[in-house]
């Protein structure tokens, strides 16, 4: 029953989001981002894709093309917060690998995985454009750096407390 109600709420919510966007092809990416943000598990469901395709009058294949092309979209459930750690050449030279190792150790997961409590997903990205603060990472929209492996525990603990 409860699950049913959640599903229903998601559907209503989805239509509300979709309706805010003009029916133009160039609205596809902003619309997909909005739908993904509205999902507590940070991913796009087949129904999201269908809703976007229908609203923008695009074939589903074209929507799927965009979703699978851009790595910031996911078709699978993720944590509530996404840690994107940079492994560009600059970050690499200044210690990205030890930083990633520390993150994996601290969270108990590997790159691409989600913590069992569904709080964090750890992802590696090609460049965050934060070379002046390398090695760097972002959690959702917020950037952090330079970071040493020893900073990781405190950062994660603080973040959990603030966001809980």
């Amino acid at each position: 029953m409860r699950e049913g109600r959640i599903l229903l709420a998601r559907r209503v919510n989805r239509q509300e989001i979709v309706r805010k966007f003009p029916r133009r092809e160039d609205q596809l990416l902003p619309l997909l981002h909005a739908l993904q943000r509205a999902n507590p598990q940070n991913y796009l469901t087949p129904d999201d894709l269908r809703a976007a395709a229908e609203h923008l009058r695009l074939p589903l294949a074209a929507v799927y093309d965009a979703v699978t092309f851009y790595s910031m979209f996911s078709l699978f459930p993720r944590g509530r917060h996404i840690i994107r750690v940079c492994r560009s050449p600059t970050c690499h030279l200044l210690g990205a690998i030890p930083l990633i190792e520390a993150l994996e150790r601290e969270l108990g997961i590997r790159i691409g995985e989600t913590t069992p409590d569904g709080f964090f997903t750890l992802e590696a990205v090609s460049c965050l454009g934060l070379c002046d603060r390398a090695p760097a990472l972002m959690i959702d929209g917020e950037s952090f750096g330079p970071l040493a492996p020893k900073d990781v525990r405190e950062l994660l603990t603080q973040y959990r407390e603030v966001k809980r």
Partner: protein, 894 residues
């Protein structure tokens, strides 16, 4: 044609129209530039980088860049060869080298270039890539997809979008994982896919292939026979690829590769085990096999007895729009000369008899005025009563192409047909109210001064009487009759009135009414009023249903004309045929299809000869037809399969299918094309023309021809519109009639400068109600039609496993509001009843039909829509009102 530009390619001077790509310019000069992603019928993509050329030291993709004045192009330098080789190696790097068992071995474009560039190994072998992990997919009846063989050229993506207007396919993911996907990797049967196979036809490698051809023969083992598709009136040219006398695959089609699901994948019926292989003679309640001698002797003896006892008019014949021109000619000759009656008709009575009646009266010729390849240049297209996408797929593709080039599409149809989704205007009239809205269009066009005064004055007659009648059809009055909102009608009429080149397409939605002829006359009025006749990309274009329904009409499988629409009533015409045939030609017009069955019930017709028709599914009020067939003293049926009608026969004669005989078909645009024997018929089955000859001879009228070519020569000598047609000329392609002498090039569009009848004649027509309107007892309107996966009575497509799997049974479309009111859910079994009968089918609840209207496809004998339909006839053309009758629906318990 626009300006020409001059350029040099590899030192050769070339002159091409402005806008030509470098690739096409080079081809024109006989220089081939390697390419994989480009296809001449699709937009350029610039993906594969094989077509790089050098222009002033710069590298350009030849598929994308246009030839320019003074350009100096090099296509074959050392640098280019090096680059092409490298690009090819990269494309090949994640392609499996399993050519040994690949269906495209020998026709694969990648294999060809690898060979030409001498690529022996792979320098770029990396880790196993994601794409190679993807298994082959066969999740639909016809198309096999092997992702690892895909080189991501995107031809399939573009073909689906640009040709079929669907966009079912697109790229997915990126980098080494890139693949082609339907979106969420659904099966083709789960998406908006027609399984037309255009994707497969353009695939350069073995990534997309026909499932059915797998391991059935490599290309060089296959024999190729050029012939014509046996399904609809589009009459696409196809090539059969044959091994061991079996059709392995089909290629060709409109513009070389465009076919529909039936033409590409629906020909396996030819090889079905249940084909009729030997003559069958009734014995008790069943049949026993007989020799040709015995069966034909029996048929002749019975027909002669009946003729002797009751006169020749006690015999009636149904010819076939599926048979060749030559066979239709001989069939009517059999009836007229050997038996001595004009009782010959065929299924055109049930589709376009009003077209012939109406357009002959208005223009002087009953055929489609213009040609398929003119569609793309029209600037306004009006489609009414034609679900073109389902019934004439290739013509629908051309209409979509015109729309993409900016043409305005107006669809007038009660149902939300697929073309309506691409239309600027979709007007949903109440079924059977067509005269009203067409007159309404004319009213608006007159009122707003959008009519073509010069054309009407110089080329037409009877305008005033017509103008007086349409005066009363104000948009408000029309709204009252048709339910089309007045303002929408005005806007659509304006769009058509303003068009420079307006084309009208219609089909049975307009003709299958008691007002069928009036509807056609009204449409002809609209075309004349706007000056849209007698020019390229204009005209009144009735889409003919069967592959050779045009030819069957041309060759007079009709009760009131002689071949080439020559008047039976004209003594001079009869005299010509009497001299040629050496017998008296009966003068009195014969019976039409529905009248034949009525006459059989009344005991006036005692015997029938039915060739390649299945009236037990296709005719209205089937229980009536069954009774009539029961009542006959003798029935002989010539067919390729046992069907609902052969059950009533006394003798069944096995015929050769289209693939097993020579002849010609005439398609909807009047194009006569050669049909060629590709495989032998099963058992002792024979081409219909041979059967007719032997039967006529036994009836005391010897017929003997060396082959269809000789029959065509006889046709040409008697029917002026076919006067210039001969097999010799048809070798190099089709010819469009009128083609009056051996030097005549054929006629792409009719009525240029002058109507066939002289002046185009306006016919004032008034709206009349359909014969049967909904009432409290039968409150809904039933309309019938087709689905693209089946053809007609399913004698052929019902025997193609894949097509049967896609649409296995009849259904009824019900509007959600009606469904809610009647307590019917999607997928429920319901009983649909009319005053004539009832059938039980599955309900499909959909807004495709408007409230108050239900739709049933007519293909299915087991739940025949025609058990319900109304046999009331249009008084002039004798077509029954298939498209409107009153029904009620009720749920049935489990």
């Amino acid at each position: 044609m626009g300006k020409l530009v001059k350029l040099r390619i590899d030192g050769r001077e070339v002159e091409v129209p402005e806008g030509t790509t470098i690739l096409a310019a080079a081809a024109a000069a006989g220089i081939e530039i390697p390419h994989l992603c480009h296809h001449p019928e699709l937009s350029p993509a610039g993906i594969c980088r094989l077509c790089l050329v050098e222009v002033d030291g710069r590298l350009l993709t030849a598929c994308y860049h246009r030839a320019a004045e003074g350009m100096e192009v090099h296509t074959d330098t050392d640098r280019l060869r090096r680059l092409r080789r490298l690009n090819l190696e990269l494309i090949l790097s994640d392609h499996p080298l399993d050519c040994l068992v690949c269906e495209r071995n020998g026709t694969c474009e990648l294999q060809r270039y690898a060979y030409e560039f001498g690529l022996e190994g792979n320098r770029f072998r990396g880790p196993d890539y994601d794409r190679q992990e993807l298994p082959a997919r066969e999740d639909n009846p016809f198309i096999r997809y092997e992702p690892e063989k895909c080189i991501l050229c995107g031809r399939c993506v573009r073909a689906c979008e640009e040709v079929q207007g669907r966009g079912v396919l697109d790229f997915a993911s990126r980098g080494f994982s890139t693949r082609i996907s339907t979106g969420l990797d659904r099966a083709l049967t789960e998406v908006n896919c027609e399984l037309c196979g255009q994707c497969l036809a353009v695939c350069p490698t073995g990534a997309l292939t026909e499932r059915a051809r797998r391991f059935r023969g490599r290309e060089w083992e296959l024999r190729r026979v050029d012939t014509v598709c046996p399904f609809c009136g589009c009459g696409c040219r196809i090539t059969l690829h044959i091994k061991d006398d079996r059709i392995v695959r089909v290629s060709g089609g409109y513009r070389g590769f465009r076919l529909c699901v039936k033409g590409r994948f629906g020909l396996s019926f030819v090889h079905r085990e249940d084909r009729l292989r030997t003559p069958l003679v009734r014995e008790g309640s069943g049949f026993r096999e007989a020799s040709w001698e015995e069966a034909l002797d029996l048929v002749a003896e019975r027909l002669l007895t009946i003729k002797g006892r009751y006169g020749p008019d006690a015999i009636a014949g149904l010819s076939s729009a599926k048979c060749t021109n030559e066979e239709n000619y001989l069939f009517q000759k059999l009836m007229r000369a050997a038996i001595g009656t004009n009782n010959v008709d065929h299924c055109a009575r049930l589709c376009h008899a009003p077209t012939v009646a109406g357009l002959v009266a208005a223009f002087g010729s009953g055929a489609m005025t213009n040609s398929i390849d003119e569609i793309v240049d029209a600037d306004c297209i009006l489609v009414t009563g034609s679900n073109t996408t389902e019934a004439h797929p290739v013509i629908a593709q051309e209409i979509l192409r015109a729309v993409r080039r900016g043409a305005t599409l107006i669809v007038v149809d009660p149902r939300l047909i697929e073309l309506a989704e691409h239309a600027r205007f979709h007007l949903r009239q109440r079924p059977g109210t067509d005269v009203a809205w067409i007159n309404g269009f004319c009213h608006v066009i007159l009122k707003e001064g959008l009519w073509d005064r010069d054309f009407v004055r110089e080329r037409c007659e009877n305008f005033e009487e017509f103008a007086e009648v349409v005066e009363r059809y104000t948009p408000e009055n029309v709204e009252g009759i048709t339910g089309i909102p007045a303002d929408a009608l005005v806007e659509a009429a304006r769009a058509f009135g303003k068009a420079e080149r307006g084309m009208i397409f219609y089909s049975m939605g307009l003709t299958q009414h008691t007002t069928g002829t009036d509807n056609v006359l009204a449409i002809a009025n609209l075309a004349m009023l706007t000056g849209n006749v007698g020019r390229r990309s204009t005209g009144v274009n009735p889409l003919r249903g069967q592959n050779n329904v045009q030819g069957a009409c041309d060759l007079a499988a009709l009760p009131n004309v002689l071949p080439g629409y020559q008047k039976l009533a004209d003594p001079e015409v009869r005299g010509k045929f009497e001299r040629a045939w050496g017998v008296k030609v009966p003068e009195r017009p014969g019976l039409t299809v529905v009248e034949m069955f009525q006459a059989a019930l009344e005991g006036k017709v005692r015997a029938m000869v039915i060739m390649g028709e299945n009236p037990m599914v296709s005719d209205p009020d089937i229980s009536h037809v069954a009774e009539a067939l029961e009542r006959l003293e003798f029935l002989v049926v010539i067919d390729i399969f046992p069907n609902e009608t052969t059950r009533f026969a006394d003798v069944i004669l096995p015929a050769a299918s289209f693939a097993e005989k020579d002849g010609t078909f005439t398609n909807t645009e009047r194009r006569v094309r050669r049909v060629r024997r590709a495989v032998p018929p099963p058992g002792v089955a024979k081409p219909d023309w041979e059967i007719i000859c032997e039967l006529a001879t036994r009836l005391g009228y010897p017929m003997s021809y060396s082959g269809p070519a000789e029959i065509m020569d006889e046709i040409a000598s008697l029917a002026p519109i076919y006067g210039g047609i001969s097999y010799g000329r048809l070798e190099s392609g089709g010819l469009q009639w009128p083609c009056t002498d051996p030097d005549h090039p054929g006629t792409p569009f009719l009525h240029e400068g002058r109507f066939v009848r002289g002046k185009g004649r306006f016919h004032p027509v008034e709206y009349r109600d359909p014969a049967e309107l909904p009432d409290p007892e039968y409150p809904l309107t039933l309309t019938t039609g087709r689905v693209r996966w089946h053809f007609h009575s399913r004698t052929m497509t019902g025997r193609v496993a894949g097509l049967q799997e896609l649409v296995p049974e009849a259904y009824v479309e019900v509007n959600p509001r009606d469904a809610a009111r009647l307590g019917i859910g999607d997928g429920d079994r319901v009983r649909v009843s009319s005053r004539r009968g009832s059938i039980t089918v599955t309900a499909v609840v959909t807004a495709r039909v408007p409230e108050g209207t239900v739709f049933i496809p007519f293909h299915f004998g087991e739940a025949a829509a025609n058990a319900l339909t109304n046999p009331t006839l249009d008084p002039r053309s004798k077509i029954p009102e298939f498209k409107v009758c009153a029904v009620r629906i009720e749920p049935v318990g489990k």
